[in-house]
Symmetry: C2
Subunit: 399 residues, 2 copies
């Protein structure tokens, strides 16, 4: 398969951007990636645009936004499609961009993901996300993603002895990393004392979906991220000025049952494991080769569960690494160096692209002071769709 | 690039299916394709599912339906994504399925497109389709697709001397073909007299968007279509029992300005021409090699405009071929043998897949009596997104 380089990365701040048009913020991230790639004046080398987004129809009353973005950027006649896979839309879009280049169809692809979801109220946002559940077997009964997150967290805690303090340690780590990431939605560090003993502890510990509380889940964020990819064997590589190439070396994705109740063991995240196996196989790497990872912690429990499912830790053992600080920025295996979904935020369609943006930034050695992983070689991202029903894993390596 | 065969095709009837769930009708079309392919009991050879759909979010309050379809069919852990490109979502999904196989990532892909859009009233349906226009420069001013269709029709008539009778001749041909297609939404033939002189002429000729009337545009339809593709060099070809292989030999897509007012000549459909040029180049074919074609006649004028833009006729000359009956089923170049969008119907996400379904059916020699093209070798489909802002062309050939 063709070797594929990431030649440019772009990002907006994540947060409340509800005054902005969805396509405009995607255009901003795209221009940021073109500038990083050094092709602002040569943007016509982009042959295919893939947009990742989940809610343009429901939240923004727009469709066909891939064409809209192309036209906003003056990229016509570049080919353009939107790819949707719930909260894993970004990972899926990168996978499909990878396929487009690997097929020999095109040499240069831009993948831009974005979501503007804070224009709706809290209840509507939860309802919107719940549209990815089974319409008759789950959604109609009022099930929501936080409900599944709470159930999963409780089951995991009971089975493996994970404590609320362990979960809080993940939040503390994520907020610490996020506080140093200029793109993060939540830039305020937090401490264990702040979570459990502050005068606001009642507010902080108000249950959202038992045992999930404020520090157990991600905020609702707007934002966009973009990457530009080029076939390493293409003559078009000469147009890119970015001198620290990062390569996509592994891509995998897999589905699991749409309904959670159909899973023999709801704690097992089969699609996570299979997508990671596929990516590791393509890359010729093992979990032990990975220097750092972005894991889809929409609920902090997912950082734990995913890290075990893909083989970073044995089952039930991640908590020990957390307690020893191994997943912090200077630990053995830093996780969610960007702040993760927990602190950086989770604009659904942007998240998978933002994760790979972070892999590239770290592998280039360009992360901000205090959150740069030391000499990383391989980074991995898991983008989790539904409640684990459609998962994408991507591995990037330094050139 | 790898040679890719279409090994199975499936279809629901097009019409009013608003009592059915969107994913259920997509599952029906998928099962129909699996049955045609002979893999109902070996469906686990499907490695990637691509769903094409435009309105699940707005019309059906569902997202993540690619995972939903996979699970409804028991295809886990097959990879799955939804591809959206307005009314050209189906063509885009086939293009991306083609890339997935050509890249060597997978050997077997199922592409299923569907739309359930009659659950909303006429006004809401028009509003829904208008979401693909520019949100600030077009949509906010109340512009709709029929408005653009009417404007385009009037401009074309004035420039090239096309008459209302010429347009009616296309409707008559499409209804004639549709009346013989069991999947067609509108199975009632019509005549010139019926259109212009019937006692109902006032109703029939009530303007929708001058000069567009009832017979100038497609109905609002529900429906789904599916195709299964396999790399011709794959050992998995042995599982398919369908003995009349049809190959995808050309694929092209291109974008034009999102806003119509930005086009120097609004009659020119640049994305149509470029996507066709790309597909012809890949196929090593010329317009004169094509035996028959499905052209996206959401408004009948588009059959005329597209047929000229891709080189079947010189500009302004299609009307002469129409008057001579050359585009009828036994003519020199049959167009919209399925009945086209005009009579078969236009469930947006299904249309591009349905067009290729028709190419395969004709190339196999399996079309119903009275609408089978004589010994066709190459068929072409143009799937038109937005008002020509994102167009996909696909060419299929007999093995």
């Amino acid at each position: 398969m063709r070797k594929i380089a990431i030649t440019g990365i772009g990002h907006t701040v994540f947060g409340n951007l509800s005054d902005f048009d969805l396509v405009d913020i995607m255009a901003y991230a795209s221009l940021d990636a073109m500038e990083d790639a050094g092709i602002l004046d040569k943007r016509d080398i982009i042959e295919q645009v893939i947009v990742s987004n989940m809610g343009a129809g429901i939240l923004n009353h727009q469709t066909g936004i891939a064409s809209s973005l192309v036209s906003r950027l003056g990229l016509e006649p570049a080919m353009a499609e939107l790819v949707e896979n719930g909260p894993a839309s970004g990972g899926s879009a990168i996978k499909i961009g990878f396929m487009a280049i690997a097929s020999g169809f095109v040499d240069v692809v831009m993948v831009t993901g974005g979501e503007v979801m804070r224009g709706v109220t809290g209840w509507e946002a939860t309802d919107f996300v719940a549209t990815l559940l089974h319409p008759e077997a789950e959604y109609n009964y009022g099930l929501t993603l936080p409900a599944f997150g709470g159930m999963y967290t409780r089951m995991y805690m009971e089975k493996y002895g994970l404590t609320e303090k362990d979960l809080a340690l993940i939040a503390v780590k994520d907020h610490e990393n996020g506080s140093k990431n200029p793109y993060a939605h939540v830039k305020v560090p937090c401490t264990l004392e702040g979570i459990f003993e502050s005068p606001d502890a009642d507010v902080v510990n108000n249950p959202i979906a038992e045992p999930l509380r404020l520090y157990g889940m991600c905020p609702v964020s707007d934002g966009a991220a973009s990457i530009i990819m080029c076939a390493a064997d293409s003559p078009k590589m000469k147009y890119f000025t970015q001198k620290a190439p990062v390569y996509i070396v592994g891509v995998g994705s897999a589905t699991d049952t749409h309904c959670i109740h159909q899973r023999e063991n709801p704690l097992e995240l089969k699609a996570v494991r299979k997508s990671a196996e596929m990516a590791f196989k393509m890359a010729g790497l093992n979990p032990g080769d990975i220097s750092f990872a972005e894991l889809h912690d929409a609920f902090v429990i997912l950082e734990v569960a995913i890290s075990e499912e893909i083989g970073f830790f044995n089952r039930g053992k991640a908590k020990e690494a957390i307690r020893r600080g191994e997943t912090r920025i200077n630990g053995r295996l830093p996780l969610n160096t960007s702040g993760g979904l927990k602190a950086k935020g989770h604009p659904l369609g942007a998240t998978g692209v933002s994760q790979v943006h972070e892999l590239v930034k770290q592998l280039r050695g360009e992360a901000e002071e205090g959150r740069q992983v030391k000499n990383p070689k391989h980074g991995l991202a898991v983008n989790f769709g539904g409640f684990g029903n459609n998962v994408v894993t991507i591995i990037c390596s330094k050139g």
